[in-house]
């Protein structure tokens, strides 16, 4: 349990992770993670492959169980009981690298399923909401198609709309553009930028440094399961403090 000062400091946080640690068997994937994200804040999380970025954001909606520390989302303490997990998942939307749309359902049905099953919305209301959000990600005309009939960029925008249909307070993105052909990256990033402008609280794992510069309030750099450095993008890119950050930036920016 955290002491009183940290509880106070994180009381108005939308997401707070305090001393979070996670192991896969004997391998420690996360080590003493402390993050506090205010409402409306945008965080970009980056780091070398295997550094624990996915593991970190997957702990926030309990796709992975953590063994130590404390995670709170919108004031809800994320325990290991189904009740608190469900409560948190209703507030947290997630977008995956591989889209993970339901292939046997149409775009519209993909967007309606969770609001109906998890929030208990009626069919008409769920459909209204779905169409509105498909409109917002500029894909309304594809509503009756199946995911396989769409391009990667379109599928990822549907995945964003599907998550938004739950009216989450937080959106998590795990390398949402990494599986896309280069010409489709922009349409997805533009959708994310729109979402950021509308004030969504976001944590994005991405190596799109242009997006980080444009949107992020803070960039967090991870290595070997720990947070190495954390700074506003201007400072992060121009004046990285740690050797590992510099090395990583050298590789990633050199590549582009």
């Amino acid at each position: 349990m955290s002491d009183i000062s940290t509880t106070k400091a994180t009381a108005d946080a939308m997401i707070s992770m305090t001393g979070v640690a996670k192991w896969y068997g004997a391998f420690q994937a996360l080590n003493d993670i402390n993050i506090s994200v205010r409402k409306g804040e945008k965080i970009v999380l980056c780091g070398p492959s295997g550094s624990g970025k996915s593991t970190l954001i997957r702990c926030i909606n309990h796709l992975e169980a953590y063994q130590q520390g404390e995670i709170r989302v919108g004031g809800i303490l994320l325990g290991h009981q189904a009740k608190s997990i469900d409560a948190v998942r209703r507030e947290v939307g997630m977008v995956f690298q591989q889209f993970n749309l339901f292939p046997h359902l149409t775009v519209l049905q993909n967007c309606m399923l969770a609001p109906m099953r998890a929030l208990g919305l009626g069919k008409a209301e769920a459909e209204g909401r779905a169409r509105q959000l498909l409109e917002r990600v500029k894909i309304a005309e594809q509503a009756e198609k199946y995911p396989a009939q769409l391009s990667g960029g379109q599928q990822q925008r549907v995945a964003i709309a599907r998550a938004l249909c739950m009216r989450p307070q937080v959106m998590l993105f795990d390398e949402p553009t990494s599986a896309l052909d280069p010409e489709m990256v922009k349409e997805v990033l533009d959708t994310m930028i729109d979402l950021a402008r509308e004030g969504m609280t976001m944590i994005c794992v991405t190596h799109e440094m242009g997006f980080a510069r444009q949107v992020a309030d803070r960039v967090i750099f991870m290595a070997s399961g720990a947070i190495v450095e954390e700074a506003p993008p201007a400072e992060f890119f121009s004046d990285p403090k740690h050797e590992r950050t510099r090395k990583f930036l050298g590789e990633i920016l050199g590549r582009h």
Binding site: N100, L113, A114
Partner: protein
């Protein structure tokens, strides 16, 4: 062979169809339970169902029918041959279908379960709305293949004295001493039931392979 004998065979055919249907339908219901238990993530439940599957896959159907037929009588439960055979076929089918569907459930990409969890869907909706519809599709060719095996397997019911198609053929053959004719017809009747299913299964398999690529 006269009309009466042929009619007798058709009566046997009727029971073969009925036994197959009972075994398949009840086996599907029980098999779904087995498949869900086998993928429940609860180690004890998974181990017990794995044992159940191994038991029924590792012993001959004939022996299973014997055990149910004579076993039930031994513990004092008097059942008709057809009830005993139905129970035996159901147990047998549930183990095979359970195993086929376990494989299919596990073949649905992990991302599907993860996406449904992230959308706050509970276990029931996750299975009913997301995983099972996809798993069923994947398993359809194998499921149909098993149905064909089951139809032919009902012939073993003749051994416990149940007059289905094979036993009806046996009886007629003993009466009119034309085994080749009689069993030729019996064989054709089995073939007419099974072959369309086999073709349909192969068709589904091709369709599925095409839609994946």
């Amino acid at each position: 062979m006269g009309q009466d004998e042929f009619f007798f065979l058709l009566m046997g055919l009727k029971w073969t169809v009925a036994l197959s249907a009972i075994g398949f339908v009840c086996g599907c219901v029980a098999g779904l339970g087995i498949a869900l238990a086998r993928t429940s993530g609860v180690p004890l439940v998974e181990r017990i169902t794995a044992g159940y599957i191994a038991l029924f896959q590792g012993t001959p159907l004939l022996m299973q029918l014997f055990v149910v037929y004579y076993g039930l009588a031994l513990v004092g439960i008097k059942v008709d041959a057809w009830a005993a055979v139905s129970v035996g076929l159901t147990l047998h089918a549930s183990a095979y279908l359970g195993e086929i569907w376990r494989g299919a459930i596990e073949a649905v990409p992990r991302g599907q379960t993860e996406a449904s969890k992230a959308l706050a869907l509970g276990y029931v909706s996750r299975m009913k709305d997301v995983v099972l519809p996809q798993a069923l599709r994947i398993s359809l060719p194998a499921t149909i293949g098993f149905l064909v095996q089951l139809i032919k397997g009902t012939s073993l019911a003749s051994i416990v004295g149940f007059t289905e198609l094979t036993r009806a053929g046996n009886i007629i053959s003993n009466q009119i001493f034309q085994p080749l004719t009689v069993f030729g017809i019996v064989g054709i009747l089995y073939f007419v039931m099974c072959c369309p299913l086999t073709i349909y299964g192969a068709h589904l398999e091709r369709k599925f392979a095409a839609s994946v690529r």
